[in-house]
Each structure stands twice: as structure tokens, then as C-alpha cells.
């Protein structure tokens, strides 16, 4: 089991960031103990393929490892059209393959990209299966597994609208593929938001999904807000969950997924050190 982090929290491939800067960022993360990175180079650029290949060479030269990546999602209408979104998704899977990632995390709430529809679980499951199936095949050819992530719904939302917020939906969709390359990316923070009651409701659903879990998004929160905090800054009860995963032969990594900051560089570096200390303690549980 290795400790990882999403590199784009520290340095994202946006704007005019150079590959050299990205490699330095990866080296910094590695030096803190994050040996399995979660990262994809940009899929929004026209030179996306060459860029990914160049980055792969630099990773290999520096002995660095990309373990997993994250496909784009369009729930909030980021992309101008369904076609653009689907092309970006395709590119992200290709990039994952080029970079040597074992898994790419995907969201399964894109039943109508950029729009909300009336909630019919069975119909949505079929739509998501149809949406993901071509990418599953594409990923398999590249040696990459599709890992479907557990999601959650906002606490103020009285109406169901987000598929895979319920554990039964996530498991049902994974098992519909009946394909060992399709697994679960367990998001601890999302699980706590979706199952916040008592100390261990989220742990109970982890146990249900466990046999499918191949990779993780690790972050903490409280008050049913998806805060993406460093572990132990929130209210997730980590010990029984990590112990359970170890005792039951979990072979993946613990990969922090940080999202929010507006810190200057020197303070951000210290936040990364905090993340590393927290991650190492998590691994030791």
C-alpha cells in the first residue's frame, strides 16, 4: 500500500505551466512520501497526446509513478457540448494509458451531460452503462481500469438526482459490467457526506463495496460538507476503516484528494507537509 496525492492540488496542468514545473512538483510530492500520484496531463489542449508522452518520458527518467487519474465530469455544464465532453473523456483515458496509470476514476452521474433528469434508477443505470461501456473497452486495451467513484447528494436536496449516491446503485452498476477491469474508487469523504449518521455509517457501506475497491480518494469533512480536508481535520472515523482494508487484503493505495486552497506558495508547501504527516499516520493505523 502506497501513499498518494492528486498532483494537481499542488500544481495543475493549466495555463502556461511547463512540464518541467510539473515534474518538479511531482518530485516535491514524492520527497514528502507521496509515491503514487494521481494525475493526468491536460486533455483540453490540442497537443494533449504529445504532451502526455513527453511527460511520461520525464516521469520514467525521474523514477516517478502515476498510479491513477480522474476523467472529466460535466455535471455542472463545464463543456459546451456533449461531443466536446465525450472527446475530453476519451482523451483522458488515452492519457491515463500513456502515463502508465492503473486506474482512472469516473463519475456515474452524467446520465444527461450538463442536464438533470427525473430520477429513475433502472433507466439511469442503463444510460450510465451505455455511456461508460466504450471507455471501458478503450481503457482495457491500454491496461487501465475504469474505477467508478461513490458520490453523494447535497444535504438540502429533497429530491434524488445523483446516481451512485446510494451504495446499492454503485455496486449494481459495477456488477452490471461483469468485468474485472471495472471497479470502485472509494471516496471516503463522499461516503461520509452520503452516510453521515453516527460514527460508522460510512464504514458499513465501505464494507459492502469493499470487494470492488481498487483505488481511493482520501479526504475528511464534517457537517455533511464535501470539504476535502486532510485526514484527521474532520470527523471521519479512520481507524476501523483502514484496519478493515488491511485485514481484508486491500492491494491498492491510499490517495489523498485535496481540492481547496488559496495559499501562497510557501504556505502551500507547509500544507503539503501536513497532508504528508496525516497520510503517513493514516497508513500506520
Amino acid at each position: 500500500m502506497e501513499l498518494g496525492i492528486n498532483l494537481d492540488f499542488y500544481r495543475a496542468d493549466t495555463g502556461d505551466v511547463t512540464l518541467e514545473a510539473l515534474i518538479e512538483a511531482a518530485k516535491f510530492c514524492n520527497s514528502l512520501g507521496f509515491t503514487a500520484l494521481d494525475f493526468l496531463t491536460s486533455y483540453d489542449r490540442e497537443d494533449w497526446e504529445d504532451r502526455a508522452k513527453q511527460f511520461r518520458e520525464m516521469l520514467d527518467k525521474n523514477g516517478l509513478n502515476i498510479h491513477q487519474g480522474h476523467a472529466p465530469f460535466n455535471r455542472y455544464g463545464r463543456y459546451e457540448s456533449k461531443e466536446i465532453f465525450e472527446e475530453r473523456f476519451r482523451r483522458s483515458v488515452e492519457i491515463a494509458g500513456i502515463l502508465g496509470a492503473k486506474y482512472i476514476a469516473v463519475h456515474a452521474d452524467e446520465y444527461v451531460p450538463g442536464e438533470r433528469v427525473g430520477f429513475n434508477g433502472g433507466k439511469i443505470r442503463q444510460m450510465m452503462y451505455d455511456f461508460l461501456a466504450p471507455y471501458v473497452e478503450q481503457a482495457k486495451k491500454l491496461g487501465v481500469g475504469i474505477a467508478i467513484e461513490n458520490l453523494f447528494e447535497g444535504p438540502e436536496d429533497p429530491v434524488r438526482h445523483r446516481y451512485t449516491a446510494k451504495i446499492e446503485e454503485l455496486i449494481s452498476l459495477i456488477e452490471m459490467f461483469n468485468d474485472e477491469s471495472v471497479s470502485c474508487c472509494w471516496d471516503f469523504g463522499h461516503a461520509k457526506c452520503a452516510y453521515p449518521h453516527g460514527q460508522n455509517e460510512d464504514f458499513e457501506v465501505l464494507k459492502k463495496a469493499f470487494k470492488h475497491i481498487t483505488c481511493t480518494h482520501v479526504h475528511d469533512n464534517y457537517y455533511i460538507r464535501d470539504l476535502h480536508l486532510v485526514p484527521f481535520m474532520g470527523r471521519i472515523n479512520w481507524k476501523p476503516q483502514i484496519e478493515y482494508m488491511k485485514e481484508n487484503g486491500y492491494k491498492g493505495n491510499l490517495t489523498l484528494e485535496m481540492v481547496y486552497h488559496k495559499m501562497p506558495e510557501d504556505i502551500l508547501k507547509q500544507y503539503m507537509k501536513l497532508a504528508a504527516a496525516s497520510g503517513k499516520h493514516l497508513m500506520s493505523l
Binding site: R235, K262, L274, A277
Partner: protein, 118 residues
């Protein structure tokens, strides 16, 4: 509401009774109007509780995690108007080990110094 706070403080008519301005609570209650009310009550502020929020909940977060609050006008106002009290973080949530807590406190110290330099 701060309109309740000022009359209560003034009712004591005692220099020993002042205001502890809680930035996080004010952010939840007043949002973008906080600075306006902060200036009104400033003569009574003797101490502070410094923290930030997100999603309009009293989360007692370390500042600079979320893009929720512009600290510069507050810090500048305090300096320009000779605030002599302290700038005190108030954290509530979390369960860190000694090692993790050490790194958190270093981080909090850096964040605090950065805010005070604004």
C-alpha cells in the same frame, strides 16, 4: 445580530466589558456585509476569534483554505485604527495525533503571520 450586541455592551457602561469579534460567526450571519458591521462595533472590540467558513456553516476552518473571505480590509482597518488586542485562531474540529498536530500548528502559524502582514 450585532444591533443586539452593542446595546448590551453599552448597558454595562464599563471599560472592562467589550466585544470578542468572531470573524467566522460574522461571516455566517452577515456575509459580505461583515466589514460594515465590523467597523461599527470596532470601538468595542478587545479580542478576536479568527476562523473561516464555507457553505454558510460555522466550520471553524483555517483561513486561506476556501476563497470565502477577504482578510485584507479587516487587518488593515485594525492596524490603521490602533487595535491593541490579539488575533486569535479558534479551531474546533479534528482529532490529530501529536505529529500531525505539530505540522498543523506550523501551518496555522504561517497563515496567521501572512494575514497579519496584509
Amino acid at each position: 445580530m450585532y444591533e443586539e450586541l452593542i446595546p448590551l455592551i453599552e448597558k454595562f457602561n464599563d471599560p472592562n466589558v467589550g466585544c470578542c469579534w468572531d470573524f467566522g460567526h460574522a461571516q455566517v450571519e452577515y456575509r459580505e456585509r461583515q466589514f460594515e458591521y465590523f467597523k461599527d462595533i470596532f470601538p468595542y472590540i478587545r479580542m478576536t476569534h479568527v476562523h473561516e467558513n464555507y457553505f454558510v456553516r460555522d466550520l471553524h476552518l483555517l483561513p486561506l483554505l476556501f476563497d470565502e473571505m477577504d482578510w485584507k480590509p479587516f487587518v488593515r482597518y485594525m492596524k490603521e485604527n490602533n487595535y491593541t488586542g490579539d488575533f486569535t485562531f479558534e479551531f474546533v474540529f479534528g482529532s490529530m495525533t501529536k505529529e500531525v498536530m505539530h505540522e498543523f500548528l506550523v501551518l496555522a502559524s504561517m497563515v496567521g503571520k501572512h494575514l497579519l502582514s496584509l
